[in-house]
Every structure is written in structure tokens, then in C-alpha cells.
Amino acid sequence: MFGFARRLIATTAIAAAMLAGAMPAEAQNKVINVATVGEPPTLDPVGVTADLVSIITQHIFETLYTFDGTWKVVPLLASGPATISADGLTYTIPLRQGVQFHNGKPMTTADVVASLDRWTKVSPRGKQAGAVITGITAKGDAVEIALKERFAPLLPLIAMSNGAAAIVPADTIDAANPLKQFIGTGPYKLIEHKPDQFIRVAKFDGYKSPEGPASGYGGHREAKIDEIRFVPVPNASTRVEGVLAGQYQFADSLPADMATRFSGQTAVKGIMVRPFGFPLMIMNSKTGVAANQTLRQAVLAALSPSDMLLAGFGNRAFFEVEGSIYPKGTAFYDAASVQGYGAADDKKSAELLKKSGYKGEPIRIMTSMQYDFLYKMSLVAQANLEAAGFKVDLQVLDWATLVQRRADEKAWDAFFTFHTFVPEPSLITFMNPAYPGWWDTADKKAALQAFNTEADPAVRAKKFAEIQKLFYTEVPTIKVGEFYNLAAQSAKLTGYQPTPWPFFWNVDLTN
């Protein structure tokens, strides 16, 4: 009896071992670690315009439209282009069917209406559109947006991934508060967030991709990677070393002078992202000494953008001395309307300064070491201005103080900041008259109105050139130039397309 039991046990054990060997090994999850510049202020993409927020949340949330590889507005959750009435006052947006939220519920017209409604009340971009929207209603399988006047930027504003018109379930919206549940329709869903440690998003199996070939943010989207971990790594050197060591498969926003670290590497490659952004010296057009237009023209004449950019970025491959608000290759690029940029002419500046009636008051310029390149550029600007006869009070502040102080029109005359590339001019901060600097002249209002109410893209480009001409006459802001972003990726990452807000759908990880 015992012999039989021993044989039975032995046979069972052998059979179990054979079965275990025969069963396929559990598939390895593809996981990538993406090193970002820090912890995002929120995961609600609607209320804030911080780029870091959109880099992460664009994987979770989607908008009705987005931008393709040529920065044209294309459908995302919409099933096709919007039908615009002849008078330009009604937009009918057809919706894709069968789209699911991450909680398994289908996206309905009611969700879209509620989301857009929240966007117009909470988002800085939505409020811009909300000023002309008279109603958002469901119309069968479409949503209708009614306007009180023509507004060409409507769809680009809806397509933007920060301050985003993100579509979420209506029952997750609390009008008074930010989102507490982060449920979207994107190819990835949020699974865990540990502040200052990581944000984990995992492939959403119920994802329904838009049709068409992938182009920019538009077209086909496929989550080939199972999990993306966004890891905040505030120190740029650590991001560089981490991607070189293989701990991160992608590292964003690296200092331009570290590009040489990637030369000769086979496992990691440096990527230049262009266009990326442009540094600005915003002038106070409302109050104080800089409210004088001739004085602002004197500032423009004195500055040497090439010296400022070289000081800020060091590596010439990563900047361009370009005065057009939009870079070459974009629909709104225009060289003819750029006047007086890059003069670096002390004499001319001094003449304009005298003409302005300048009495030697200190020009209070705010800058911050928190963005090293802005600080370095401001030092060069100070030298340029002093050579022309300005008295400069350069105030070096931490960023939070600068942001607060710039809201006080009496506290400053100029401040340094930067702007990420945006595909639509209405998205540029200084176009908004309420943005610090307060560029709000009658000519600008008229030019912007004409631009915003024009639907024909070719005509819009010409009208933007007229705005740019005013930009160089009234000098509300000085554009220093263009700068490009350095990022780095593992050679094992395939399918990545460099873009200002990096995304990882359609990206794969090879062995």
C-alpha cells in the first residue's frame, strides 16, 4: 500500500513538473521610465497650462480635436471635421461612437457637453473661448457650439493638450473643484500616483483609436508599451546620467551643453526637438516708465539677441536668432514684418531714449535663476541696456515671487519668461490683454479681432503678419529668438517622434 502511495506521489510530482515546464512563461510586461523635470502641479489637465501636466495627462485624456504633424487641427474624439455654419456662428462637431472611458462606461454626448462646459469656466484657454460661446448643446450624436461672433481659434483652443478641453465622464465633474478621479478615454489609464516618486499609467485594453495613419498627435494611436512610469527628476544632470545608465528610457528637457554626453553612444541617443520655444522679455505697456512706446523701441534697439541666446544656451545648434514670432516652416512665419529686431545699436537706442523723454529712472527688470538660461540672458540684456544709457535695476527672484509680482502693474517694468511653441497664435500668452504686460492698444484689438474672425487659413496668415508688424512697432514684448529642446532616449525605444510634448503611444520597446 505504501509502495503504491509513493509511486502515486512520485508520478504526480513528475507530471506537475512536466506541466509547469510546458506552460508558457508569463509574458514580460513592457515598462518604460520617463524622467521628467519635476512633479506636476495636478493631473487635471483642464485648469492649468503647465507643459509638464500635458506631457503626462495627454496619455490619459483626449480632446475632440488635436494637431497632426503639420500642426493642422484633426479629429480625435470627433469623427470628422466640424461643420461650420455660413455665418461662422455655429459649430457642429460629430462624435465617434463606441468610445469607452477607463471605467468601462461609454462616452456620451452628455459627457462631452458637461466637459466642454467645465472647460469654458475653468480653463484659461476655455475662458478665452467662453467669452464668445453662447451655448453648448447635444444634437443627436453631435455637439453644437453656438457663438456670438466669429471665432477662428475655437478648434485650435479645443485641440490644445493643456488648459485642455479634456472629455471626462459627466459624473466625475464637480464644478467648484478640480477633478478627483482621473478617468479619460486615452490609450493609457492612471493606475498609481505617488507624488515626487512616480506616476504610473497602464495600457487601456478598451481603447478605441481614431482612424487614419498616425501623424503628429493625430491619427492611429496604439499603446504598444504596457506601462509608462513618469518619474520626477528635478536635477538635469541626474536625468542625463540616468538615461545613460539605462535607468530611464527617456529623459526630457536636458541642458543644451550636455548634448556632447550622447556623442558616440550606441545605447542612448540625444534628440533635438524643434520647434520648441522662445524666450521673451515682456514689457509693462500699462504702467510705469515702460508704458512709453518710444522707450520700448529704445529697448528693442539696444538688445543683442544673438549674444543673449549664446549666453543662455551655449550651444549654437540649440538656438536660432529669429525675430518672427513663428519659426520657419510654420504657417504663421513672416520675415517681412520683423522690423528692428537684433539691431544691437547703442546709438539708435540712445536717440530713441532721448526722444522718449527718459529721465534716468531705473528700469525694473525681473528675472529668475530658477531658469538658468533666462537669468544669463537677462545679464546680457542689462549690459546692452546700460551701454545705451538705461539705468537698470535687475531683480533676481525665485519663480513663485516673480509670478506673483508680475500681477502687480506697479511693481515692474519688464520681466523675462519663455513660451513653448503653440500651433495657434491665440494660444500665446501675451495675445491675451489680461496677461501681465497688458498689451491692449486699439490697433492691436482691431488686428486681433480681424485675425480671430477670419476663417480662411491663407488670409489668417496675412492678418497675423499685420499683428506681427504691430508687435514690432508697439514693442509690447521682445522676442529674443528660438530655442530647441534636448531630450534623450534609449536606442531600444522605437517609433518615438520628437515633439514639444513628448508622447509614447505608437512607441515600442525592443529587447
Binding site: 515598462v31 512633479e39 502641479p41 495636478t42 485648469g47 492649468v48 497650462t49 503647465a50 501636466v53 484659461p124 484657454r125 475662458k127 493643456n162 488648459g163 467648484a176 473643484n177 478640480p178 498609481e192 505617488k194 507624488p195 515626487d196 516618486q197 512616480f198 504610473r200 512610469r229 518619474v231 520626477p232 527628476v233 528635478p234 536635477n235 544632470s237 541626474t238 546620467e241 540616468g242 545613460l244 545608465a245 539605462g246 535607468q247 530658477q370 527672484l397 525665485d398 519663480w399 513663485a400 515671487t401 516673480l402 509670478v403 506673483q404 509680482r405 500681477a407 519668461t417 513660451h419 494660444l427 500668452t429 491675451n432 489680461a434 496677461y435 501681465p436
Partner: protein, 313 residues
Amino acid sequence: MLTYLARRIAGMFVVMFLVATVVFVIARVVPGDPAAVMMGAAATADDIAALRARLGLDQPLPLQYVMFLKDVLTGNLGDSIFLNRPVAQALAERAELTFFLTLMSVSIAVAIGVPIGIISAVKRGTATDQGVIGLAMLAASLPSFWVGLTLIQYLAVELRWFPVAGYGPPDATLGERLRHLVLPAIALGLPNSALILRFTRTAMLDVLHEDYVRTARAKGLGQAVVVMKHALRNALIPILTVVGLTAAILIAGAIVTETVFGLPGVGNLIVSAVLRRDYPVIQGALLVVSGIYVLINLAVDLLYAVADPRVRY
């Protein structure tokens, strides 16, 4: 002893109250507010004002202070404006890392500083002593971020012996997490070992000239017994003091190393909160850290009684 303990703990609460008040006032006097930082560049003054109202930042300061004190007295450190969670939870999430990093750094600092300090004192005036003092000065002068980046460059990137940064993936074991702390602990421990070394050397030199040490040598005891049993035990009090101070400072003072290594520790939390003007975190974290600081000092004082039986409370 109990009376002494009660007196010290009562003093701790007084210190914490003073710290809370000072931090509350300073945080609000410094320009900048969390709403502006959170909203981003495109936000207008109206957007920021709306968020301030939602966060209760538009309330009069005395009212904010009273509400803050009321919360603290009921054990509520408030909710982080930026992290969207209770301050206590934010601290708890970082407590493990900070505890182990402090423990490992102090252990490295003591393991290097005490033995070499003893050797330096015993070999006073010799080339060994001079060399050790020179190395100690060098170690103390090295900026911790440079040490950190150098360790990363050679031990993490080139040799791949250790990870570059972070505290491990979500499913990391404790062992893996501790492995992430080795390089930062060395970066912190090395400069701090120099201070402990100097204190150890000085304390040992004071004791090595005492009569009882001469007596112990005269009785024929070996050098090791004289130094370790008779001299070191009596030199322990100042050494304990500096070790305790080092540990207390490292709890919240490792910010540079935490930044270089991407570690979400308490130091990082506090400095990030200052940059973001996250008032509840600044207040709550500094309150807790000040309490821990006082407790560490109390523990060191109690250890005096262990090191020196003559000390009574």
C-alpha cells in the same frame, strides 16, 4: 528621571509652538503664492484669484492662523495645496526613505569618523595624524552634490554597481530600496564623517592625557584595551552629541543630495513646498521636524547617562 522627561517633553511642545508660529508668519510674508505657481504662465490675475478663493488663501491672516492652530491641536496638519493629500500622509510616505537614509548616512559617518579619529588621536603629531587631518578637511570641503554626481558617474553609469537615482520601482523590495540609498548615504556620510572625526580626535586627545589612562598603561594594559575601554568610553559624550546633531540635521537637511539622486525625502518635500509656496506642507513638515529634532536631543541626553554612570537626571 521622570520629572526630567516630563520637563523636556513639555519644553518640546513650547518649541514646536514657536516654530509653528514663526513658520506661519514667514511663509505668508514672503512674496509668491501657491495659486499663481499652480496655474501656470497663461493664467490671468482673475484665474489666480479664483483659485486663491477656492484654496481659502483669501481669508484674513489671523483667521488662517487660528484655523491652523486649531487643526494642529487636534493633530491635523492640514492638506497639501499642491500634492492634494494630507500633510501627514505626505510625510508618512517619505518617512521610510528619510529614516533609512539618515541611519545609513550616520552609520557611514560614524564608521569612518570614529575609528580614524581614534587612530589620529593615538598617533598625534605623526605623519598619519597630519594626513588624516588633511583628508578630513578635504572631505568636509567637498560639496555633497559634487560627491553625489561623481559617485553616480563612476559607480552607477560606468560600473553599473548601483542605480543612478530614485527609490526603486513600485514593486521594489526593501533590499532593492536600500541599494538605491547606498550612493546617497556615502555622499552624505563622507562630509559628515569629517566632523565626527575631528570631534572624536579632540575628545580622545583630552582623555588620553588623563591620569587614569596613565595608570592603566602603567598597570601594563595593552594599547587597545587602554584606548577602547578606558579612553573611548570617557570620550563618548561629545562624540554622541555631534552624532545626534548630525542625525537631526540630516533628517531635513539632505536636500541637495536628495535632489541629485532624485530621492523623495523629507528635505525635498520641504524645499519643494517652499518653492511652490505650499503653506500647509511648510508648516506641518517643519513642525514635525522640530519635534523630532527635540526628541533626538533628548535621546542623546539620556544616552549620556548610559555612557557616563555619574550623570543622573
